[in-house]
């Protein structure tokens, strides 16, 4: 076997590359870190070309600083803003001559950095790993002959799409900007809203191949130190090849990876992120995806929508309660229907029961199978609607729902009552604002339906209690998942289940353990000052 390999290697001489063959992917990053730049410009350029294989988008432009010293810039085409580089080159090539004459400038890396580089952000690097990290994001590397330090200048071109409306979390009222794929744009959206200097961004690079930039965002002094440390530790512990989306990170850092319930919330709305930061939570932004992660997360938080905070209290409270009801409905209604109709017909009013029985005459399947068929059909329609292009997608889902449902009834495959039940469930399941929770709900609904068919209402109750035990045992970064319902924190109820007026919410959530519990002056009252009134009264 080894002999064969040697022969094959002999034939593939052209593309043979000892460095890439010798080291696995995992080892290369370490190796890159160990490879230091040499003082010779050409050696550095050769090294760079060898590692990158002279990729077609790699630009290496040699020039002379002050007409004496050889130098080169290395950058990646397509990631840079050409104007910055031109400006930089102008200064390095043209201005440097004048400076050299006028001030007898010595061409060293430090002098070049201080006097000749009109770029707003420059970093020094001496090993290849850092060099490639920066080049790959759009920076330009300036190599000077005789210096073993490279200067990395910020020349990033913005290549992301424009800020637009959030695709998944729409609201009636409130800001309509959402995050984009570019990290820096996202951080600027947050900075716009929280302007104190204690808003800290900590950068980490994760992923051996993708070297994705991930930023931890928190308000120093407000968020719990232990929480910050825990998030940092978990992020640093991630050891994987690629991070393409925040969902990858989510799975690595969550407390209970085996649970279907999400303990980390994702959102693409900056106002949500800011509201959470202000409560003392930590946000995680990822380069390449508009979805930010928020920790720690509670179940109740996932049932809230930003609309609740922008509308007035009675409407907000009512909508919130309705949303909780819809959440429960989406989980349990098909199961309850199966249970009541097959095990406990005495619970239903007589007339309704007889009509249901009448409608089921001639339907070949048991009730459970009917419900499962329709449920599955609906899930198919939903998934199909997502994949299809916009125009067809909408038409198909409406047409699909109406006509297929009707045809199924006429064909005698299902009974009309089941269609109503499934329709109700479907509508209720759209009310959940967070998508990952919606997935959990769908799976749990399936379990409830089967349980209802096995033991009737006792089956439902069994699964309900199992679910309760599971949810009660979940923790998200130290905070119990069902706070503030269980453990019951009366103080937090004002915000979580209802949503009292903004001027009546003086405290921050209890379990986030932060220092400043009072949001505002508790004696604050909304009524106008009595002195004002008398003034107006004349």
């Amino acid at each position: 076997m080894g002999f064969l390999q040697k022969i094959l290697r002999g034939f593939a001489k052209g593309r043979r590359d000892p460095w890439h063959e010798k080291y696995d992917i995992e080892k290369r990053q370490e190796k890159l870190q160990q490879m230091k730049l040499s003082k010779k410009l050409q050696a550095n350029i050769d090294l760079i070309e060898k590692i990158t294989g002279s990729s077609s988008d790699l630009i290496i432009r040699k020039f002379r600083i002050g007409a004496t010293v050889d130098a080169a810039i290395v950058c990646l085409d397509g990631m840079i803003k050409e104007a910055v580089i031109d400006e930089m080159l102008h200064s390095l090539i043209v201005e440097s001559i004048r400076d050299r004459w006028l001030r007898k400038l010595d061409i060293s890396a430090a002098n070049v950095l201080n006097d000749l580089l009109p770029v707003h952000d420059v970093v020094e690097a001496d090993n290849l790993a850092d060099l490639f990290d920066h080049i790959s994001i759009g920076d330009t590397c300036v190599l000077i002959d005789g210096q073993s330090t490279a200067l990395l200048c910020d020349s990033k071109g913005k290549t992301s799409r424009a800020i637009s409306e959030p695709a998944t979390e729409q609201t009636l009222r409130g800001p309509r900007d959402s995050f984009v794929e570019d990290l820096r744009t996202n951080t600027s959206l947050i900075r716009h809203r929280i302007r104190v200097p204690h808003l800290w961004f900590e950068e980490i690079q994760i992923g051996r191949l993708t070297r994705t930039k991930v930023e931890m965002v928190y308000i120093k002094g407000l968020a719990n130190e232990g929480l910050i440390k825990e998030v940092r530790d978990r992020l640093n512990r991630i050891d994987t090849g690629s991070i393409l989306e925040s969902g990858f990170i989510e799975e690595f850092i969550e407390d209970q990876p085996l649970s279907i319930f999400p303990t980390v919330m994702e959102t693409e709305r900056p106002d949500k992120v800011c509201a959470c930061l202000v409560e003392g939570r930590v946000a995680i932004l990822t380069q390449g995806t508009p979805y930010a992660l928020l920790v720690p997360t509670e179940l109740v938080m996932m049932l809230q929508s930003p609309d609740d905070y922008y509308e007035k209290f009675p409407l907000a409270a009512f909508t919130r309660i309705m949303r909780i009801g819809a959440f429960l409905t989406a989980m349990m209604v098909p199961g309850l229907y199966v249970a009541v109709v097959t095990f406990h017909p005495e619970l239903m009013p007589t007339n309704l029961l007889i009509r249901i029985a009448a409608a089921r005459e001639g339907v070949p399947f048991p009730v459970l199978v009917e419900v499962l068929i329709l449920d599955g059909l609906f899930e198919l329609l939903r998934e199909a609607g997502v994949r299809l292009p916009m125009a067809i997608g909408q038409a198909l889902s409406i047409v699909g729902a109406l006509i297929i449902g009707d045809a199924a009834i006429r064909a005698g495959i299902v009974a009309p009552s089941v269609v109503i039940v499934i329709a109700l469930t479907a509508i209720a399941s759209f009310v959940t604002p967070i998508f990952s929770l919606g997935i959990a709900v769908r799976l749990v609904r399936f379990i409830f339906t089967i349980a209802g068919a096995v033991l009737g209402i006792f089956g439902i109750q069994f699964v309900l209690l199992l679910l309760a035990v599971h949810l009660c045992s979940l923790r998200s970064f130290g905070v119990p998942y069902l706070t503030p319902v269980a453990p019951f924190v009366l103080r937090d109820m004002k915000d979580n289940i209802l949503r009292l007026w903004h001027w009546k919410l003086p405290t921050r959530p209890k379990f986030l353990g932060q220092r400043d519990v009072q949001r505002e002056d508790p004696s604050y009252s909304v009524r106008p000052d009595p002195s004002q009134r008398s003034r107006e009264g004349g």
């Binding site: 095990f343 406990h344 005495e346 619970l347 009013p349 309704l352 033991l455 009737g456 209402i457 006792f458 089956g459 109750q461 069994f462 209690l465 199992l466 309760a468 035990v469 009660c472 045992s473 119990p480 069902l482 319902v485 269980a486 453990p487 019951f488």
Partner: protein
């Protein structure tokens, strides 16, 4: 790595004790109305308040002296190593027996009244599996589940009692003649609810998990008072609605009473919700009992953690519940004052009276020394 000790707070303890005690309502009500007490069933409930209050006092006083120990520890402390171990083992057996009984009664109701063709062991299995899963998850999880489940439990219970008030067609005449046969019958009838207070022995194992062990007495008395009030109200309502004789004849009067509620043409036969509430109470009761039993067992056996024991304990309780009582008649015989009284007396003397006596003697001796 030693796990930090799990804690439950005062309110959760209150809820747990309340639910453990209130399931007595559902299961043991018939014994109140039988044994000749008839319309004085509520008097029996009132009478049972006092001995149980005394029992709680004894338990709490003992337990407050050793806030960082569980029953297994302080039994050995107080009674010597071997006697302590034997008494703790007995206590653990009592816990398991109670868990089995609780599951059995609930499963009996379901298989008799609702799912007649489902095998008993299957229904038992579901109830006990729930308890085992929760016990495995830990007392903190049980505490949170109690928080979660309590509003539903309480509202359904209270609601069922309130809804029956329109059925008071004859006013409270069914309650008369009050105490016509004297105090004898209610006294006899109060033996069983008093005995059912053996569930409060879980306090002995739970002290270490409390946030504020000093407040144990206050919390348990408050919880017990509330549940006794519910018991009194429930006995009153059952007697008024069903009549004393029928109340004595039915096996589970509370459910039969709820069956007779008809709110309107479409809301009838709502006792399934009361069963729901009872299931929640049973769940909390069984989980706490299983948790305490496995914790104690692990301590007796010198294990570091109790979690591996849950499996075997669950099987033990399942077979126990299935085979100890052959049918409902044996169950009723077991809970008759003639049989239940002496058994419960033995349990209390051994597990409460003895440690408390030794504790007091020791305390007085050390007082003299100082």
């Amino acid at each position: 790595m030693k796990q930090p000790e799990e804690k439950i707070n005062n309110r959760q303890l209150f809820i747990i004790l309340f639910m453990i005690r209130s399931t007595v309502l559902m299961s043991f009500l018939p014994v109140l109305t039988s044994a000749d007490a008839l319309q004085d069933a509520w008097v029996a409930a009132v009478i049972s308040f006092f001995p149980v209050a005394l029992l709680l006092y004894l338990i709490c006083r003992t337990v407050q002296g050793y806030p960082d120990m569980t029953a297994v520890d302080y039994m050995q402390n107080l009674l010597g190593r071997w006697v302590g171990k034997v008494v703790s083992a007995f206590l653990i057996f009592v816990f398991l027996h109670m868990a089995a009984a609780e599951g059995r009664i609930y499963a009996a109701v379901i298989t008799i009244d609702f799912l007649t063709e489902t095998p008993l062991v299957f229904v038992l299995g579901t109830v006990l599996v729930l308890g085992a899963v929760a016990a495995h998850a830990g007392i903190e999880v049980i505490g949170r589940c109690a928080d979660l489940v309590m509003p539903v439990f309480f509202i359904i219970l209270l609601g069922s009692l309130l809804i029956s008030t329109p059925l008071f067609a004859d006013g409270l005449s069914n309650l008369e003649p009050v105490l016509a046969r004297g105090f004898g019958p209610p006294l006899r009838a109060s033996v069983v609810p008093t005995g059912a207070a053996a569930r409060f022995l879980v306090l002995t194992m739970l002290t270490r998990t409390l946030n504020q062990p000093r407040k144990v007495l206050r919390i348990s008395m408050a919880s017990f008072t509330l549940s006794t009030i519910m018991l009194i109200i429930a006995s009153l309502v059952v007697v008024v609605v069903l009549g004393p004789h029928k109340g004595a004849r039915t096996v589970f009067p509370l459910f039969t009473m709820i069956r007779t509620i008809q709110l309107s043409e479409f809301l009838e036969r709502v006792e399934i919700f009361a069963i729901f509430a009872w299931a929640f109470g049973t769940f909390i009761g069984v989980s706490v009992l299983l948790y305490c039993a496995t914790k104690g067992l692990s301590q007796l056996l010198g294990l570091r953690t109790y979690r591996p024991l849950i499996g075997p304990v669950f099987l033990f309780v399942l077979t126990n519940a299935n085979h100890t009582w052959r049918d409902l008649f044996q169950l009723r015989t077991f809970y008759h004052p003639d049989l239940y009284g002496p058994w419960v007396l033995l349990v209390f003397l051994l597990t409460v009276g003895l440690p408390y006596a030794v504790h007091v003697l020791r305390g007085s001796r050390s007082d003299h020394v100082r």
